[in-house]
């Protein structure tokens, strides 16, 4: 009954022009709160939950494509609808009108704050915990509490295997004390391409066991790296799945992956930029190897993986490369700035900041982002600030030391996108917060489509 209503709501909301990714779930849960545990029982715990601050969508989607490639029929909340309603909606859309589920596995990304709520209904086979960074504080209170809530929720799970990022001491706050079997992944050695600036905002600096300050052999980025505690001897655990010799290529990443559980090594190559994606790939490799999926299938799925909207999505306007990068917190933004900095061509930078509820109404975190890195770079020709908080963004850039004449405020997003596409530089790099992402993507596609038509018309003449 609840499923049926959910499906009707989905049809209706689609007809009204919404994406329908959460509303059906909300309705179904209202009608029958127990439906989620009932429907998931049919899967008999064949569920993986992916949580953490950054990379949930990418990790989840990589896992989903590997599973699909190896013949699983899966339930997946691919649109990033990762709170309880979105997860309920994923099951509703997968089930038939009688509420039967004809699927083999559920691959679900779960919002950190919703995790304890979701695990009340679902008892997963695997939980992937990727990282914790500061994110939308006004919604979650503070990071410490979020981690504590997840830790308590994990404690209640039975026979769940944890797949955890060993490079993040904040993740260790959960797994170091857990009785659950834990498989650790991480980047074994310092990769040459990475650079770490002392100023960068780092989240965890304290030992999860005794509270002393952690000493790092090296950082990959933010607080991720090889750490140890001089107080109690706690250190980064041995890695079960690890990356060696991570290389950033033009347009992608490649690395050797060592699977120490099965004592074997293989190469992976991804066609997505950004060093941080190695962690998303490693999480997916760890999961897939635990599910005994063959290496060639994993390699192929990773190689063919295409980013979803805004996860460094690439567009072209003639010769000009345009990158779209969703930003939610300082760590993700800093990684985006590093990726931008590694592009050798000239570029124009576009930043759209909204302060709607889904973005986080507090945008103070912009002051924790290292825009100073871009201040005196001659290859960045202009900065176009857009969205509801375009003025604050412009102010941040000014205080980062960017020459004021390079900064433009164009509040209207459609106009701002048109300006950046037509600027002189060979590359355009677009940053957008959550609710700015969809409009920016839509305007961008519309502009590119019409300029394509124009070009065709020119050629016809």
């Amino acid at each position: 009954m609840a499923v049926l209503f959910g499906k009707l709501v989905f049809r209706l909301s689609k007809m009204l022009g919404y994406k329908g990714s959460s509303l059906p779930g909300m309705v179904a849960l209202k009608i029958y709160p127990g439906f989620l545990s009932q429907i998931s029982k049919k899967l008999d715990r064949r569920i993986v939950l992916v949580t953490g601050t950054n990379g949930k969508t990418t990790t989840n989607n990589i896992i989903a494509s590997i599973m699909r490639a190896s013949g699983y029929k899966i339930v997946c909340n691919a649109e990033g609808a990762n709170m309880i309603n979105g997860i309920a909606a994923a099951f509703i859309l997968a089930a038939d009108f009688k509420g039967n589920l004809n699927h083999d596995y559920a691959v679900l990304e779960v919002d950190e704050a919703s995790f304890p709520h979701v695990t009340k209904y679902l008892n997963p086979e695997f939980v992937v915990i990727n990282n914790f960074f500061r994110d939308q504080l006004d919604r979650y209170g503070e990071l410490d509490k979020t981690i504590l809530f997840i830790k308590d929720a994990v404690k209640k799970l039975e026979d769940t295997v944890l797949i955890a990022n060993a490079d993040d001491p904040l993740v260790m706050r959960i797994t170091a004390f857990s009785k659950h079997k834990t498989v650790y992944y991480g980047v074994l050695t310092k990769s040459e391409e990475q650079f770490v600036k002392a100023k960068e905002t780092k989240e965890a600096r304290f030992c999860p066991v005794c509270g002393s300050k952690l000493i790092y052999d090296f950082y990959h980025y933010s607080q991720l790296g090889d750490y140890k505690c001089e107080g109690c001897g706690f250190k980064r655990p041995d890695l079960d799945i690890c990356a060696l010799e991570v290389k950033l290529l033009d347009g992608g990443i490649c690395s050797k992956v060592c699977d120490r559980i099965h004592k074997m090594e293989f190469e992976i190559k991804l066609n997505i930029k950004g060093f941080y994606n190695i962690y998303n790939a490693l999480a997916a490799c760890a999961f897939s190897r635990l599910k005994a999926i063959d290496v060639p299938i994993i390699q192929k799925a990773l190689f063919e993986y295409k980013p979803v909207a805004g996860r460094l999505e690439v567009f072209y306007n003639d010769e000009k490369e345009i990158l779209l990068n969703l930003v939610k917190n300082p760590t993700g933004f800093n990684e985006g700035i590093k990726t931008l900095g590694s592009i050798e061509k000239t570029k124009d930078v576009f930043i759209a900041i909204n302060d709607n509820h889904a973005d986080g109404i507090d945008i103070s975190w912009l002051w924790d982002v290292d825009f100073e890195f871009l201040a005196d770079r001659g290859d960045v020709l202009s900065f176009i600030c857009s969205g509801k908080r375009s003025e604050e963004m412009a102010l941040r850039l000014k205080y980062a030391g960017v020459p004021v004449e390079k900064i433009k405020i164009i509040k209207n997003m459609r106009e701002a996108v048109a300006v950046v596409v037509n600027e002189k530089a060979k590359n355009a790099y677009l940053f957008a917060t959550y609710t700015a992402l969809w409009p920016v993507q839509r305007y961008l596609k519309a502009i590119l489509k019409s300029s394509e038509k124009e070009q065709r018309a020119c050629k016809m003449k």
């Binding site: 209170g141 503070e142 509270g211 507090d362 002051w367 924790d368 003025e391 412009a394 900064i407």
Partner: protein
């Protein structure tokens, strides 16, 4: 030379408060006022007599407890410096620490530095949102904006408030005050951060720091177009 001291920059770095230090430094540099920055971590030594402007931010619970312990060891020296007119900006957790105590939900009183007379009591829900206040500096009234996010309710107990609330919760969601002032110590709950969008306050702090060094100088006016626009957005949303 103006010396700015950022206390515990790697611990108290929540909510973008380092923007306050950036704003103070930049507005000195743009006017060719020589300025340098000293960053002080846990257990590191510092001579408050050599400091002209001290910034103390807020952190999450873990960090807050660590710095409270560290600051207690510096209590006497910091207190002396404050009595001698040290210019201080303390935000959120830093503000609470300068007072008498913080009473947790289960009634435990965590002692503060008692440099000022205010005290803080934990509340069940967090007071969160954009804020607009009215502040008086050198007899002139200004509107100041920021973002608050605190569970503590601070009661001034005789300390002078920094400003009066136009929109938002402020010190305790009851008495219509926000922040506190004692000598040259300015305390506030406002993140945002507070200084970049409110250059009147930043320049006031710079002037006080210069005066304390015996330098009487009118500050050169700067082009504050972006500052005004960023502030205007919050004001138009709230008022």
């Amino acid at each position: 030379m103006i010396t700015v001291c950022h206390m515990y920059p790697d611990l108290l770095n929540l909510y973008g408060d380092r923007g306050n230090v950036i704003a103070f430094l930049k507005r000195c540099m743009w006017r060719n006022i020589p300025v340098n920055l000293v960053e002080v971590g846990l257990g590191e030594s510092i001579d408050f007599e050599k400091i002209d402007f001290l910034f103390l931010g807020g952190g999450s619970d873990t960090e807050q407890n660590l710095i409270a312990r560290d600051l207690m060891k510096r209590k006497k020296l910091l207190s002396q410096a404050v009595e001698n007119g040290l210019v201080v900006l303390a935000i959120c957790g830093g503000y609470q620490l300068l007072g008498r105590y913080y009473r947790t939900l289960d009634g435990k009183e965590i002692p503060g530095l008692s440099i000022m007379n205010h005290y803080t009591v934990a509340g069940k829900n967090r007071l969160t949102g954009n804020v607009a206040v009215e502040i008086e500096l050198d007899g002139k009234k200004h509107k100041i904006v920021g973002f608050e996010n605190h569970a503590g309710r601070t009661f001034l107990d005789g300390v002078k408030p920094l400003s009066k609330i136009l929109s938002g919760f402020g010190n305790n969601a009851k008495d219509g005050t926000e922040g506190a002032v004692y000598k040259n110590v300015f305390c506030s709950y406002l993140h945002g951060p507070i200084l970049p969008k409110n250059p009147e306050l930043t320049d006031h702090l710079i002037k006080l720091a210069l005066e304390r060094k015996g330098i009487q100088q009118e500050l050169l006016p700067l082009n504050d177009q972006f500052e005004k626009q960023a502030k205007e957005y919050i004001l138009s949303k709230l008022l």
